[in-house]
């Protein structure tokens, strides 16, 4: 396990709200106190006690639009597993951590998009369906309740980013399989495995099958040596941060359905921890096992997002 040098600066995603101040009761009942609003509405919302940031339509449009997170069937697309296709954007944020992002998501996806943005520290503004206000408000409240813990991300290998679409798709598949990587400009001695697509070790033609390519990297790492493993679901993507003594695991459930008993294995000296589960709150780790240089635990029912702090 290697802690990547640069920690992402924590950022809290923001809901882009264009309805007027008369919608204040709706937002307050959803527990939402922080908004991005058009510049001409900033004063009114501030007077109403909201924490607001001015975002114009042009500002919103200028941001990089991220796809709607979730799972989707992709018939005809080669995949060696039965797992559904996950649409996730954490890798995009990792690729450009200083980027400015936007989401425009339909009903039912607001909370998940907020979770994804928060887990990766993305500077993101979200257009959500008003039907999602309650769940989005609950997610924002949850995010605000998390203990502050800014730790560097953990990676098991490096990926040299040449900016190409092929490398992008490879990163997408690597992230989707919970293979923890750091994006780098050149191979780093910190890692046993450095993936540079187009090199002799990683020919571009291999990466043309990104799923098979991800399996190749996985085999090189070996499952035993991976810093993090997830059992009990194929639709959870994790982000791990650690300073070697403490760790935080972000667990984003893209499946749209609650998961009970998700099992997580994290390598390292960790002996204990606690979970923070969106919609539930603080929870004890279940079936805790510390052995073979790793901690393993299960979680009670989780929805879109959970955070586990280990020590």
């Amino acid at each position: 396990m290697t802690a990547a040098v640069l920690a992402l600066v924590a950022a809290v995603p923001c809901i882009y709200w264009t309805q007027g101040i008369e919608s204040r009761p709706t937002l307050e009942s959803a527990g939402i106190k922080r908004l991005c609003v058009p510049p001409d509405q900033v004063d009114a919302w501030r007077k109403a006690g909201f924490n607001v940031t001015a975002v114009s339509d042009a500002d919103f449009s200028a941001r990089e639009a991220l796809p709607v997170p979730g799972t989707t069937p992709r018939p005809g697309v080669a995949s060696p597993t039965r797992a559904p296709w996950i649409v996730a954007s954490g890798w995009r944020v990792m690729r450009a951590p200083a980027g400015k992002y936007s989401y425009a998501v339909p009903a039912g996806k607001g909370a998940l998009a907020l979770a994804e943005a928060a887990a990766y520290g993305a500077d993101a503004v979200l257009k959500i369906d008003p039907a999602d206000l309650a769940s989005a408000g609950a997610m924002l409240t949850f995010l605000d309740s998390l203990p502050a813990l800014d730790l560097p991300p953990v990676a098991d290998f490096g990926v040299v980013d040449d900016g190409s679409p092929v490398t992008a798709e490879a990163m997408n598949l690597l992230a989707r399989r919970n293979l923890l990587f750091e994006i780098e400009k050149a191979p780093s001695p910190r890692y046993r495995v450095n993936v540079a697509i187009g090199s002799a070790a990683y020919p571009a033609q291999d990466a043309a099958d990104p799923s098979g390519f991800a399996q190749k990297i996985r085999a090189q790492l070996t499952d035993e040596q991976r810093s993090l493993r997830i059992y009990g679901s194929e639709v959870v993507i994790a982000r791990l941060t650690s300073d070697g003594k403490r760790a935080r695991v972000h667990l984003i459930n893209y499946g749209g359905r609650e998961i009970e008993g998700l099992r997580v294995r994290v390598r390292g000296p960790f002996q204990a921890g606690e979970a923070h589960i969106a919609g539930t709150g603080k929870a004890a780790l279940q079936d805790l096992v510390v052995a073979d240089g790793a901690i393993e635990f299960s979680l009670p029912k989780i929805g879109a997002y959970a955070v586990v702090d280990l020590r």
Partner: protein
Amino acid sequence: MHRRAFVRLLAAAAASAKAAGSDLVAGRLPDGGLQIRTDLPPLKIVSRYSPAATPGMPGPFPGRVVKVKSDKCVDTTTNTANDQVVREMMAQGMRALTGAATTADAWRRFFTPSDVVGIKVNCGGYPNCISAYEIVAETVRQLTTLGVPVSQIYIYERFQNQMDECNYAAHVPEGVQTVAAERANRNADNSGYDPETYLEANLFGEEDTRSSMMRLVSKRLTKIINIPNIKDHGASGATGCLKNIAYGSFSNVARTHQRGKTHTYSFIGTLASMEPIRSRTVLQIMDGIRGVWHGGPFARTTKYLFYPKQIMFATDPVAIDRLLLDIVDNERKAHGAISIWDRNPASLKMDDSRARDADPNVNIIIREPGHVEYAASLGLGVADLSQIKVQELTV
């Protein structure tokens, strides 16, 4: 909690294959001899449980099967079993298996009042071919007669929605537990499984590489009675004792077959060989009143239903399943269908279950009936027909 797990790595059965003098990868040896393939994935067993002095499988009667037949056990026009006839078949079968003078003594051979007994049923063939209510009810009756409290009897399956369909509770005394590990086959409920007792394998590049034993099995039950059906199976060739107890007691097993290929060959037997399920599964009652000769394990229609009109009793799951293979294959032959041993690529319509359901000469996966022989290589029982002693009774 710190723990030192018992970890066993099955090294792709290469050593066994060498001992058997064979590196064949397909088909059955013409002489019926044991054949272990060499192209098997590594399987890692993690379990803290030690085997019993005499593990339930193969138990005290390896290679021994009592087959009780009766033309009167089921009305084939209504698909209704005869409760009284089934009860008599059960009594004779249990006495013959154990050599006991009375039926109660026969059951006492396996169970005491302090036992917590699981009855592993099969609901996959609902509504036409599931573990017969009459057999399950008689099993419960015999256990309670011995003094096992109803609160210590669990009828179980993996999926609650299947248990709800079958509704065994309506056929047994109030207080008998009917339980499942998951609400449905959605890979979202893991809390019913023991995260410290599992088989680990990367079969097709899946991220979730563990199949965990039901907590009920590892933490609560002291004995298990296995009541499968005689059924064809699209991946394993046939499904009987071994597959019912293995795939019906562990999570995340559907991952073993996809895109025309299955790893059931080694996976079924290896799961069944894991402790504590191997030690605790002490009795096999094969419900052959009804059977499915194609399209299994499902039986949503009666199209492929047939009536073997028999119940088999054993402690050896392999011996029963070896007989099962021939029962299913002979029925298929009678209908002019390809053998369960067929590996012809021309028969394969990968993942096309609609074509499979319409045509008994279609496979969706290259089947692995050799899983029975593989299970024998793990010591779970006797697969060599010449070594299996069948006692046949008629009611």
